[in-house]
Structure formats: C-alpha cells, structure tokens
C-alpha cells in the first residue's frame, strides 16, 4: 500500500511538472466555459424545466471534453515510460504489476477530477446569481460529479489499456480516442434499429447507451445499472491493461 501511494504520488506529480498537465487543464477550462455560455443562453429568462446539470450534459462540449481529454491524460502513463526506458527501472524495482497499474490509473483519475474543478465555479455562478435555485441542489450536483467520475473511469481505463500496448504516445492517444468514440456512439445504435426489429435488440443496446445512463445521474437519480455498467467496463479495461503489463513476463 505504501508503495502504491508513492507510485501514485509520482505519477500525479509528473502531470504538474510538465507543460502537458497545464495545457490539458487550460483546454478543459476553456471548453467548460464554452458549455457554460451555451447553458446560460439556454436558461434565458424563464425557469428551466430540467436541472441545470442535465442541460449541461446535453451540451456537446461535455462529451468533447471527456473524449478528448481522456486519451491525452492517459497516453503518457505507459507509452512514455516504455519509450524513455524508465519502464525497465520501474519494473525491476520490487513493485507488483497490480500496484503499478492501479497507481497509474489512480493518478489519472485524480488529475481528471482536478481538471473538472472549474465546473464547480460555473455551477456556483448559476446558483448565486440566477433565480434558478430550484434546479440545482446537492443531489443533482453530487449525481453529476458521480457521472463525471464514472465516465472518466471508463475512458481513462480504456486509455490506460491503449497506452500499455505501445511505445508511442501518439498511437496510444489515437487508439484511445477511437475506442472512446466507438463506446460513446454505440448507444446511438438503439435509435437506428428499425421499428420492426425484436424488442430485445434495442433493449440490450440501450443498456450500453452511455448517453442515456448519464442523464439519469444528472437528474440526481443514481441508477445502479449505470454505476455497474461503467465500473465493470472500467475494470474490464484495467484487467486488460494488467494482462498487457504482465505479458512481458510470459514465456
């Protein structure tokens, strides 16, 4: 455990010791700001029928932030270490494969959450300077951040996996991005299924509709289906990452 924290601290510090970390945060803050403008415009003068947080999810910028930031955050985790050779010094220290994967993933998640902090400021402005108080409470904000966290877990885990596969950060980011977009757009298949098709088809695909699932969370409804979907997919990708890291030792 002690080793895990040491590793995670170093990984997290690496984000803040390089320019990349600040660039990611700045870019994300910019996009959050843009969605905030869209949001404010949408609110206009009359009270909103749905929670502000749900509106926020429906602005395209939210998904853009997640889809773009996740690959960029995770691309260096393994690929850079393999490229510079420090992977060798790391893995020949008495550390476990699980510790390494968990520490890197934890650092990515913490950085990702830090990246989202400007959103709190936006929500503060909404609650303090508008009369839309009814649409914003602890439940919806908590639900929203849970959603942000869960979506992040999934996409960052996928990013870890692609980073572990290669020595090239660029390749890792590209593949992670494609993987993220595919996962994200999978849910839209449900809407493309013709009306005559059997009921179960759209239902099964509906379970994997990331977009729908997250909307519930933004309303402050914590649906275990969403939680389970996101965490199990994230664990699946982390498991794959672990196998890739272990594969070095396969005979």
């Amino acid at each position: 455990m002690k080793i895990f924290w040491t590793l995670a601290r170093r990984e997290l510090a690496a984000y803040f010791l390089s320019v990349t970390g600040y660039v990611i945060i700045a870019a994300a803050a910019f996009l959050i700001g843009l969605s905030f403008v869209v949001l404010i415009n949408g609110l206009g003068n009359q009270p909103s029928p749905v929670p502000v947080t749900e509106l926020f999810y429906q602005t395209p910028y939210f998904w853009l932030i997640v889809l773009l930031a996740a690959p960029v955050i995770t691309m260096r985790l393994f690929a850079l270490e393999k490229f510079s050779g420090t992977f060798e010094t790391l893995m020949t220290a008495p550390v476990g494969d699980v510790q390494v994967v968990a520490a890197k993933f934890t650092a990515a998640i913490v950085f990702y959450l830090v990246m989202w902090l400007p959103l709190l400021a936006c929500l503060f402005v909404v609650s303090r300077f508008t009369d839309q108080q009814g649409t914003l409470d602890a439940g919806t904000i908590g639900g929203m951040f849970l959603g942000v966290f869960l979506v992040g877990c999934l996409f960052l885990a996928a990013g870890c996996f692609t980073s572990a596969l290669t020595r090239s950060q660029m390749a890792a980011a590209m593949v992670a991005f494609v993987l993220g977009v595919s996962l994200f757009s999978f849910g839209f298949l449900a809407r493309a299924i013709p009306a005559g098709a059997p009921q179960w088809e759209s239902q099964v695909i509906g379970y994997f509709d990331l977009f729908d699932q997250i909307n519930d969370l933004a309303r402050g409804v914590v649906d275990t289906r969403a939680v389970i979907l996101y965490t199990s997919l994230a664990f699946f990708f982390l498991f794959l990452t672990l196998r890739v890291v272990e594969s070095r030792r396969w005979k």
């Binding site: 080793i3 040491t6 510079s84 050779g85 030792r249």
Partner: protein, 316 residues
C-alpha cells in the same frame, strides 16, 4: 550470489543467449565482456527480472529470478543501459522515490539517500532537475539509485558509456570502492575498463561464453603463443633452414629488413621462451643480432581473437 545454469533466451527467430552457465561468488566484481549484440544486456535483463528466460534458470542470492522475482529484485540494484531517469524530477526527490518503492521506510530512506548522495558526489546537486544535469551527473544519479537500498548484488549495464575520461575515472573508482561489500556485475565492451575494475571476466560472443577467468589468467593462457621477433644479419636461406631444423619452433616467417638484416617472426611450439635459444644460435653462427623481442599479447589481442574467431581465421 549469482547462479546461472543453461540460460537460453530466444527472440522471434534469433537466439540472444544460448545455454549460458556461470556463477558469481559474494563480493566479487565480475565483468561481462563482449561486442555489441553478444547478449550482455539480455543476460542482465533476465537477472534483473525484466525479461523471462526461454529456458534455464538464474538465481540471485538463492532466489529464482523468475519464480521468486520480488524477493530477488529486492536484493538487486540494477542500472539499465543508457540509464533512463525521470527528467522532470529533482535528484533528491527521485532518489527518495526510488528508495520508497524499493521498500525503505520514511526515516530509513532519508538516511540512505543522504549516504548514497555523498558516496556518489551528489550532495550539492540534490535540488537540481535531472533533465538539466550533465551526462556524468546523470550517471551518478543512476548509480546512487542502484545503491540506495543496499542491495547484495549490483548490476550495471555499460556504466561508463558516453562519459568523458574524467567522469569515467570517477565512476570506475566508485565501482571499485564497492568491492567486498557488494557483488557487482558490470557489462562493457571496453576491455581496459574491465581489466581495471574486475576480478574476473566473462567473455560473451554470440550468446555463448567464450572464456571466463581473471584478467591475469586470461593473459597467461594466451601468453604461450607469444611470438618472438628477431632481426638477424644473415642470408634468408640460412635462417629458414636453421629455424626449420629446430623442433621448438612451430612456424617461422622470414622477411627482408634494411641492409643484410632479416626479420624473423617465430611461433614457439609449446609456450617455451625461445629467446635464449635464438641468442645461442646467432652466437654459434657468428650472426649479428640487433633485436630480440617477445611479443606478449595484450588482453586486447586476446579479446579480439576470441570474439572474432571467424574473421581471424580468414585473415591468416
């Protein structure tokens, strides 16, 4: 300390290490010597637990480097080729991080980091960013990292590569000072370096062990073939006949030098020193002898000879 038996490592279509066996006793400094691509780095990576062997076993301090990897790694300080470091970290911060992930406690890691920084001459560099250090200092950081958890075995892959002569000297001195307390395995393709630092040398070529002995013994082994060079003022025919009659001489080459002198290169049959015999022969025949040298082969010659057997045969 190290026991390697029948170690083989095959990459797709290429054998990097073939049936390698050797052992290293506690406190020894052993040099792993060979041209580039001889399998030095592969052997070291297997010992350090980074790569699995295709077959065969390797043990460090009694622990199998594959099946008891964690225990073995705890006892090894490994510095890979090119000494990769995290360039964004500060020297002290990096060493502290390394000490911690190697399982040292809070206070203990602080004490050890201070000790190795002093040992490696880094005391005043603690706050510097690694990426901005000179190559020599970076190498010292790598060494300090290998030493920080007081490992029983230290494995250094080409520790002096790319350094200037001053830096090489200081790194060598540092490595020499480790003898006795630590077992050290160094790889290099620079022979004088191994000669200077190592108590024993293992010469690898093409994944196989060609020779393993102390530098002195290796030299003695080859000294038997030391050739004698004699310059004698006599007709070439007479000289050739004379050498052909002597049973101690296996091979003789006679070539013209200035004036009436001829240069004879003589190979002894069984390692005897031919010089007194040649002097006597010259004296008996009334020939003038102006040079008589025993051409002792340096380790360099031996090294070139054993690591390039085919080319040498072709050359002769």
């Amino acid at each position: 300390m190290i026991e390697v038996s029948n170690l083989t490592k095959r990459y797709a279509g290429r054998t990097a290490v073939a049936d390698l066996s050797f052992s290293v006793a506690r406190g020894e400094i052993v040099g792993l010597l060979g041209p580039n691509g001889a399998g030095k780095s592969t052997t070291m990576r297997i010992l350090a637990g980074f790569l699995p062997a295709t077959s065969g076993t390797a043990r460090v301090a009694g622990y199998d480097v594959f099946y008891q990897s964690g225990e073995a790694r705890r006892r090894i300080g490994y510095m890979p080729e090119n000494n990769p470091l995290y360039p964004e970290m500060r020297v002290r911060e990096y060493l502290k991080f390394r000490a911690r992930i190697k399982g040292l406690g809070w206070g203990q890691s602080r004490r050890r980091v201070d000790t190795v920084m002093e040992q490696c001459g880094l005391t005043h560099m603690g706050r510097r960013i690694i990426g901005q250090l000179s190559k020599g200092y970076r190498q010292r950081v790598g060494l300090a990292d290998a030493l920080v958890h007081e490992p029983e075995l230290i494995i250094l892959d080409e520790p002096t590569i790319g350094l200037d002569p001053h830096q090489i000297r200081s790194v060598r001195q540092l490595i020499k000072s480790l003898a006795g307390r630590h077992t050290v395995l160094i790889s290099t393709h620079i022979l004088p370096e191994a000669e200077m630092m190592c108590g024993r040398m293992l010469i690898l070529y093409d994944g196989k062990m060609l020779a393993a002995d102390t530098p002195d013994n290796l030299q003695r082994l080859m000294a038997g073939n030391a050739r004698i060079i004699a310059e004698i003022a006599a007709p070439a025919e007479a000289l050739r006949q004379c050498w052909a009659q002597m049973p101690e001489i296996e091979h003789a080459e006679v070539s013209a030098a200035e004036g009436e002198f001829h240069r004879c290169i003589l190979t002894p049959r069984d390692g005897t020193d031919l010089r007194p015999v040649i002097f006597t022969v010259a004296l008996q025949n009334g020939w003038v002898l102006r040079e008589l040298t025993r051409n002792r082969q340096s380790l360099e010659d031996i090294y070139v000879q054993v690591t390039r057997p085919n080319e040498d045969e072709e050359g002769e």
